[in-house]
């Protein structure tokens, strides 16, 4: 281990310790670092900690598990990402981009749906994640197809050919029509199931139609552009700010803003750098700060 690595590791560990202490110290029941130390020491030494039992309960049963989960998930995703990047020789690869998160999520959802025990849920998530990555690693030719697949998963319109457009446009149109026809009923769904049903909406049918339409449109879009994050999250927020929540205005305005935004981003993507920047990277770059600003703003209005 070089001195530099040691320093970085020490710094990272120090940051981790500060983060953990901070995580315990803030929130509804703050746990002071001193108390935390006493509680941990009493566990090791077997002597009473002298700290109030409620604080001890919070550390072991409430905040401790949550902090542990955050550490474990963060470490796992980052480590997995590092492994994938090495394996695929591509520094822009990450578990979510490779479809591993997505595949694993499908498995986990299936497990939860079937009310399986937690071990089986993990097993299913693992199996589906493996299937997703296996399709890439085993089936794809690492020199031709793999780079194309990874680039596509980051989102790009570089490969959009007339034939792609010709197949995607009808699917998008077919998805748009029911959304437009059901525009008023979608408003009522946003009130919750019971109120909507009491006002005469067959909620199950309407919800199925809306989900099927939106998924069809998403699938058609993904099949030509790959995964482009943030647009579906950020643009509707801004459209709602501009025209209010009535879906008969919200949907068209969202569609127009989304189209304009992606076109601008794509123009940036192919003009600003020597190599083409993946769209997913750019939309995240623009979308994240916008989303944070939105979040802060809406939190203020809730208070």
């Amino acid at each position: 281990m070089t001195a530099r690595t040691a320093w970085v590791a020490a710094g990272a560990l120090a940051a981790l310790a500060v983060a953990v202490a901070l995580a315990f110290a803030v929130g509804r029941y703050p746990v002071a670092p001193g108390d935390l130390g006493a509680i941990l020491w009493s566990k090791v030494s077997g002597t009473p900690s002298g700290v109030a039992p409620t604080v001890e309960a919070i550390v072991w049963s409430v905040r401790g598990p949550r902090i542990g989960a955050a550490l474990a998930v963060g470490a796992a995703l980052a480590a997995a990402g590092a492994a994938y990047q090495s394996l695929f020789r591509n520094p822009l690869v990450s578990p979510d981009i490779l479809g591993v998160s997505g595949g694993a999520a499908v498995g986990a959802v299936l497990g939860i749906f079937l009310a399986l025990p937690i071990l089986a849920i993990q097993g299913l998530a693992f199996a589906f994640g493996l299937v997703a990555v296996a399709m890439l690693k085993v089936l794809a030719d690492p020199y031709n197809q793999l780079p194309a697949i990874t680039f596509w998963l980051l989102g790009s319109l570089a490969g959009a050919a007339p034939a792609d457009l010709a197949s995607a446009l009808p699917a998008i149109a077919i998805g748009l029509v029911p959304l437009w026809l059901l525009r008023w009923r979608v408003n009522l769904l946003s009130l919750g199931d019971e109120e909507a049903r009491a006002m005469g909406v067959e909620t199950t049918r309407v919800r199925l139609a809306v989900i099927a339409s939106a998924t069809l449109m998403t699938a058609a879009a993904v099949s030509i552009s790959g995964i482009i994050g943030w647009i579906g999250l950020v643009i509707p927020h801004f459209a709602r700010l501009a025209v209010g929540p009535d879906f008969s205005r919200l949907m068209p305005v969202s569609a127009i803003l989304g189209a304009a935004f992606l076109l601008l981003v794509d123009t940036l993507a192919r003009t600003t750098a020597r190599i083409e920047i993946p769209l997913g990277v750019l939309t995240a770059f623009v979308g994240t700060p916008l989303f944070l600003w939105q979040l802060v703003r809406s939190r203020r209005s809730w208070q």
Partner: protein, 262 residues
Amino acid sequence: MIRLEGLSLDFGYPDHPVGRGVTIALAAGEIVCLLGPNGGGKSTLFRTLLGLLPAQGGEVRVGGDPLGSLSRAAVAKRVSYVPQAHAGYFPFTVRDVVLMGRTAHLSPFAAPSRHDAEIADACLARLGLSGLADHVYTRISGGERQLALIARALAQEAPLVVMDEPTASLDFGNQVRVLAEVRALAASGIGVMMATHDPDQAFLCADRVALLHGGRLVADAPPRDAITPATLREVYGVDAAVVDVPLPDGGSRRVCIPAQGR
């Protein structure tokens, strides 16, 4: 005359029954107050009567037809529902919220027409909310929201209305205002079934009082017969005096005065 009837209703959930054998009815033009302790099943009974929760036994009929034989829109044209006002999630205007009451009258793929907007505006005016029509529903007061939901039920143009504790969490003035609107609805021929925590409200406006206790109906009678020191002790476990108080206008009103807490 159209009626909403629950016939020997068992209600609740398959693994958690809430009430058994409840027979209750509401006719157009009358006010029925449903009284009972917290957690006594008032909301569950209402949700069953509205068809939002399947009955575990017995039957609900509206206008003579079993609830299950009607589409949601057909039910909504006969019975409307005023839930407890909540803030909601999206910033719809008050007019949009009231317009949503028109949904049962629209074909599945239509949005409200100018005619529907006129009805909504008339309902807003009837409840004195015209000035709030363009305000954002999530930002008006709790009392105004409750009145807006009553306007929404009016826009639904159903002859029967079920209201779940419409005065809960309202201040004194708004409680009196909401009760006055309930009486005005009944005077215009609409039947109102309303859950409340306050027996005095039943003396103020009810034609009949249904007392729900332990999942059973222990009384269904005019207020003076249903609300007595004996029934208050049985249902709420509280000793109370039920007395007539003279009013400035020369009449009198019956009220309940709890004896405990002195």
